[in-house]
Symmetry: C2
Subunit: 557 residues, 2 copies
C-alpha cells in the first residue's frame, strides 16, 4: 500500500500517524506546502499577544519526529499541483527549487485545509493588510506589532478576529473591529453576544457592527480603511478575518465532486467521489450532526477525527464519521462564549420547530467566594424535548457546561435527562442544582405545561391591546433600577395578598430578574385562575436583547 | 391535602418548595429540629478556614423567606418524635420549650438526613472532640480555632475530613489525619489518591494510614489521641469524620422497612413501605445507577432531586428516581479529585467484569501556558465497552472531565462514543484531542484488539519466569530518572532498527511515560511478530502504585 497524504497539519497529520499504527509496511508520504507540519493553529493569536512566549511551542511536532517515530516520508515545502486519477499519480512541485515530479499512489488522502478569504477590495494587497493562517503569517504580523503599532483594524468579528483583538489590546494597541453582520461571533445567536460586545467596550475596543471595509489606502500613518458608511479608520495594521474558503481547487480540477459551499464532497467514510481518494478537515463538506444537513465547519477536533477515520477506511476498516456538532469556544478578555449543536437562528433558517430557555446562574455555589455569572441558553424540540443546541457566555465554567451539553446532544438526550444529571458538586466547582440541571428544569417545566413561558422578543413584538399585562415580581428596588417598559411591580412575596390588583381575563406575562420568582408567580397565578406565563430568563434576558435600554419610569405601580 | 415534611435542609426544602409550586391549596408544614433550614452544608469547612468570611452566606434561605414566598409553615427547633401511621399523626416536640403536640397529615415526607458517626471510643465526649454536621457544630469548631489551636487531629480522611484538613492548614494549624483504611478518600481507588497524599505531605500534613484512634484523653495541652499502633498525638482540637449514619430511627420505630445499611427503604417513587410516607436524602437507601445494587450515598444533588420527585408523587405525578451515580468531587489544596459511577474496587467487590485504562493528559493544550496535569481513569465493560465509572485527580479541568463522563454514564455510552465526543477546544480550555477522547481512544483500542494492554499491577504480580520482558521505550534520560525495576531501555525512535535485541517467543510488556509511545511501540512490535502489549498509562501509572519507588539502576544496558 502506497498512501499519499496532501497536507500535514491537523487532519493530515492524524491520518498519517494513524495509518502507520495500522500498517508498518505501508509507504506513507505526506506532502505539505508550507514549511511546518502539525503546528498549533489555534495558538497563533496568543503568540502575537505574547501569552505564548516561545515560537517553538507552536510546533506540535516536527517532520523529523514524524520520520523517526512513525517512519513517515514527510516532504515539506512541497505543493501538490494536480491529480491524475486515471493513472493514480500526483504531480508535485518543490516550492523553493521549483522542481516538479510525479508520485504514484494506491490511496490518496486530501487534507489541504481552508484559506482565509481575501475579498477583492481595492488595496487588499497593501503590505500592512494581513490574513492569519500559518506560522509565516504570524511571524509577519508579530514582526509588524513588535515594530510598533498604535492602531489596528480587525475586519471580521469571528473567533480568530476577536482573539486577535484581545491580543492586540494586550499589546497596547488601539483596536477597532469592523463586522458586516449586526453582531460579533456570527455563529452565535445575536443576543448571546451582548456581554462580549460590552466586554470589548470596557476594554476600549471600538466595535462597528453592520459595517464593512470598502477600500484600503496607503497613508503616511499606515493604512486608511474606508468604510461603507463613508467613515475612515487609520491603522498601521489591518487584519482580514472574514472567513475561510475550503482549499478544494486541487480536488475540483481533478473532477471530484464539490458541494455548493465549495467543500469537497465525501461520504461518511470520508471518501470522495473517487473510491481511491479520501478527504478530511476544513476542506470537506460534512454532515451537521444535529440537523443532518451538509455543512462547512472548520474545527481542529473534527479534522483530527476525520483523519483517523480516513486512515481506518484506507486500511479496510468500516468506520463512519457521525458528523460535526460545531462545538466551539472563544475567550475574549475575561469572558468565554461557547456553543454546541444548532443555534436558534440556524433552526429558524431551516424552518425547524424548537423552543428555547435561558438561565442566568452562577458558575458555582453563590455562598462560596468567586462565583461568576453566566447565561446559558438551550434550544430543543418542542415535542420530544430532544436537545438541539446550547450556547453560553460568562466567566469560569462556561466551557464545562457546553461540554456537558455537547455530550447530551451526542447521546440524543432530552431536556428531561438534563433534570436528572448528576454532576460533581462541591462549592468551588458547582452547585447542588447545576446550571445544566436548572436549564433542564425550566425547559422540562415548559414542555410539561407546568411552566408556561413567553419569549421576551415575542411579548415586545406584540402591539397593544394584544400585549399581555406585564407583571414585574421583583422587589421595589430592583424594579426602580430598571424594568421592561410598561411593567407593573408587585413583589412575589406580596402577590397572594394583592391578586385583586390584577386584571381578570387578560393574559399576564410575569417576570423577575432571572426567571425563578417569575416561575413561582406563574404557578401561583395560574392556580388562582389567571392565564399567566413567565418571561423566560426574566429581566436579564430582556437586557441581552436591549443592552442599551435605560431605566424607565414605571407607567403605574 | 395536608403535607408534613420532616427536615428542612436539602431534600426537605426541595420537597416543600416543589410541593407549593404544584399546589397553592395544600397545607404544608416543615418541621426542622435545628434552628436553620436549607443551610450550605458543603460550605461549612470553608467557613472554618475563612474562605467563606460571613456566616450569613451559609444560610441559603430562611424560614421567613420560605413563609413569604412559598407560604410554607416552617417550624424550626421542632423535633418529630414519633409517627402514628394508623392515625396518620406525628408527635412533635419544641426543642426549646419542651412542649409536645400532635399534627395530622395526609402525606408525610421524611428528610431527616444522616448524622456523623461517634464511635464508642473512650473520651469521645471530651469537649475538644467534635463532629461537623450543622451550623451549631461549625460555630463551636470555629470558636475553638479562633481561640487558638496549635495542633489538630482529623480522624477520617473522607471528603469532609480532608476539606477540614486543608482549612486547618490555612489557619496555620499543624494537622494530622488518621485513617483506618490504607488510603485517603475511601470511595476512590487507592492508586488515584497518591497525588492527594503527596499534596498533603507537601503542605506539612501528617497522614497516618491504616491507623485508628483508640481513646481520647484530657491533657494539659488539650487532648491526647491514643492510636492503635500505640503512638500518641497531642491536639487542642479533634474532629471525628469517620462517616455518617442515616437518621432512620424515627422511620424504624414507626415500623417502616429499613435496608441492611440502615437506610430507609424506598421505591423508585421515593415511597417507603407505607404508601402515605415518602423519604428522601441521606436517610434513604437508593439504587446505585450503574450496578443496580442498593446503596447509601449521601450527596446534596441527589437529595434535592429526590425531594422534588417525592413531592411530584405526593401530588399524583408518576415520576421515578433513576438512582444515584455517586458523582463526587473534593478540592485538596491545589488538587482536585473527582469520580462518578463505579470504582474499580466496587466492581471487583461485586465480581463484575471490567477493564480499565489510565491517561495522563494536560488539562488544556500543552503549548498554551498554565497547562496542569491530570490522571484520568475509566472502567468499562470488557465486552460492550459500556462506561461504568471514571475517576480523575489533578488540577484545573478535573471537574469538567468527570462531569462529561457522568453524562456519558447516564446516557449508557460506550468507550467508542468517547472517541467521537466533540468538546469545546481553544488552547486555554482544552485540546483538539481532549483527555476524554484520549481515554476513549485507549479503551477502544484495547477492546478492538489494536492496542493490547497489561495492567502494571498484574505485570508486577507475575513472578519470573512468567513475567513478560519489560521494555521501556522512553529516552535514555527519562529511563535514567526512574524506571520499572527490571526494564530494558530502547527508545521508540530506535526500536525498528534494534528489533534484533528483543527476545523471540517471550511476551513483551512495553511502556513509556504515559502510554502513547508504548502504544506506538506495541503496534510496531506486533506487526513484526512480537507478542507485545503496552503497560496502560505507562510509568506514571506505575508511580501511582509505587509512589515511594526510588530510581533503580537498570539491570542491563
Amino acid at each position: 500500500m502506497k498512501l499519499i497524504i496532501v497536507g500535514g497539519v491537523a487532519g493530515g497529520a492524524s491520518a498519517a500517524t494513524r495509518a502507520r499504527r495500522l500498517s508498518e509496511d505501508a509507504e506513507i508520504i505526506v506532502f505539505e506546502r508550507g514549511p511546518d507540519v502539525s503546528f498549533a493553529n489555534c495558538g497563533l493569536p496568543y503568540y502575537v499577544g505574547g501569552e505564548i512566549a516561545e515560537r517553538s511551542k507552536l510546533l506540535v511536532t516536527t517532520p523529523q519526529r514524524l520520520r523517526a517515530r512513525f517512519r513517515l516520508d514527510v516532504r515539506v515545502n512541497t505543493s501538490v499541483e494536480s491529480i491524475d486519477r486515471a493513472a493514480r499519480r500526483v504531480r508535485v512541485r518543490e516550492v523553493t527549487s521549483g522542481r516538479e515530479y510525479e508520485e504514484a499512489y494506491d490511496r490518496l488522502i486530501l487534507a489541504p485545509g481552508a484559506a482565509p478569504l481575501r475579498p477583492p477590495i481595492p488595496g487588499v494587497d497593501l503590505p500592512n493588510v494581513f490574513t492569519l493562517r500559518n506560522l509565516a503569517d504570524v511571524d509577519r504580523i508579530k514582526a509588524r506589532v513588535d515594530q510598533g503599532v498604535r492602531q489596528a483594524v480587525v475586519v471580521g468579528a469571528g473567533f480568530i478576529g476577536l482573539e486577535l483583538v484581545e491580543n492586540f489590546v494586550k499589546r497596547g494597541i488601539e483596536t477597532t473591529v469592523v463586522e458586516l453582520q449586526n453582531q460579533v461571533l456570527p455563529p452565535f445567536d445575536a443576543e448571546m453576544t451582548t456581554p462580549i460586545v460590552e466586554a470589548l467596550h470596557r476594554r476600549g475596543v471600538r466595535v462597528l457592527l453592520g459595517e464593512s471595509a470598502e477600500a484600503f489606502e496607503d497613508s503616511p500613518e499606515g493604512v486608511t480603511v474606508k468604510l461603507k458608511s463613508s467613515g475612515r479608520l487609520t491603522a498601521q495594521l489591518v487584519i482580514l478575518g472574514v472567513g475561510v474558503r475550503p482549499e478544494s481547487r486541487l480536488a475540483a480540477d481533478a473532477g471530484l465532486e464539490i458541494g455548493p459551499r465549495g467543500g469537497i464532497r465525501v461520504n461518511d467514510r470520508m471518501r470522495t467521489s473517487d473510491p481511491d481518494i479520501y478527504a478530511v478537515g476544513d476542506a470537506v463538506e460534512i454532515k451537521d450532526a444535529v440537523t443532518g444537513d451538509p455543512a462547512q465547519i472548520p474545527l481542529a477536533g473534527p479534522a483530527n477525527r476525520q483523519g483517523r477515520i480516513a486512515a481506518d477506511n484506507v486500511f479496510g476498516r468500516d468506520v463512519r464519521y457521525r458528523g460535526t456538532q460545531g462545538t466551539a469556544i472563544v475567550g475574549v478578555f475575561n469572558l468565554t462564549a461557547a456553543m454546541t449543536g444548532a443555534s436558534e437562528k440556524s433552526l429558524r433558517r431551516g424552518n425547524r420547530p424548537y423552543r428555547k430557555v435561558y438561565v442566568h446562574p452562577a458558575h458555582h455555589a453563590g455562598y462560596y467566594p468567586g462565583a461568576e455569572p453566566m447565561t446559558l441558553k438551550i434550544v430543543f424540540d418542542p415535542v420530544s424535548g430532544k436537545l438541539l443546541g446550547a450556547q453560553a457566555v460568562g466567566g469560569a465554567g462556561v466551557d464545562k457546561r457546553i461540554d456537558v451539553l455537547a455530550v447530551a446532544i451526542q447521546a440524543g438526550m432530552t431536556v428531561f435527562d438534563l433534570e436528572e444529571m448528576e454532576l460533581a458538586y462541591a462549592p468551588q466547582f458547582g452547585s447542588a442544582k447545576d446550571p445544566v440541571n436548572m436549564a433542564g428544569f425550566v425547559a422540562a417545566g415548559l414542555l410539561r405545561g407546568d411552566h408556561p413561558q413567553l419569549d421576551v422578543e415575542t411579548v415586545l413584538a406584540t402591539a397593544e391591546p394584544d400585549r399581555p399585562y406585564l407583571l414585574d415580581v421583583r422587589t421595589a428596588q430592583e424594579f426602580a433600577a430598571g424594568c421592561i417598559p410598561g411593567a407593573v411591580n408587585i413583589p412575589v412575596e406580596e402577590l397572594r395578598e394583592r391578586l385583586g390588583e390584577l386584571p381578570r381575563g387578560r393574559d399576564i406575562a410575569a417576570y423577575c430578574q432571572v426567571g425563578q420568582r417569575g416561575y413561582v408567580a406563574t404557578r401561583m397565578l395560574r392556580q388562582h385562575g389567571f392565564p399567566a406565563s413567565n418571561i423566560g430568563g426574566g429581566y436579564q434576558t430582556y437586557r441581552l436583547f436591549h443592552p442599551h435600554a435605560t431605566t424607565v419610569t414605571p407607567s403605574s405601580r
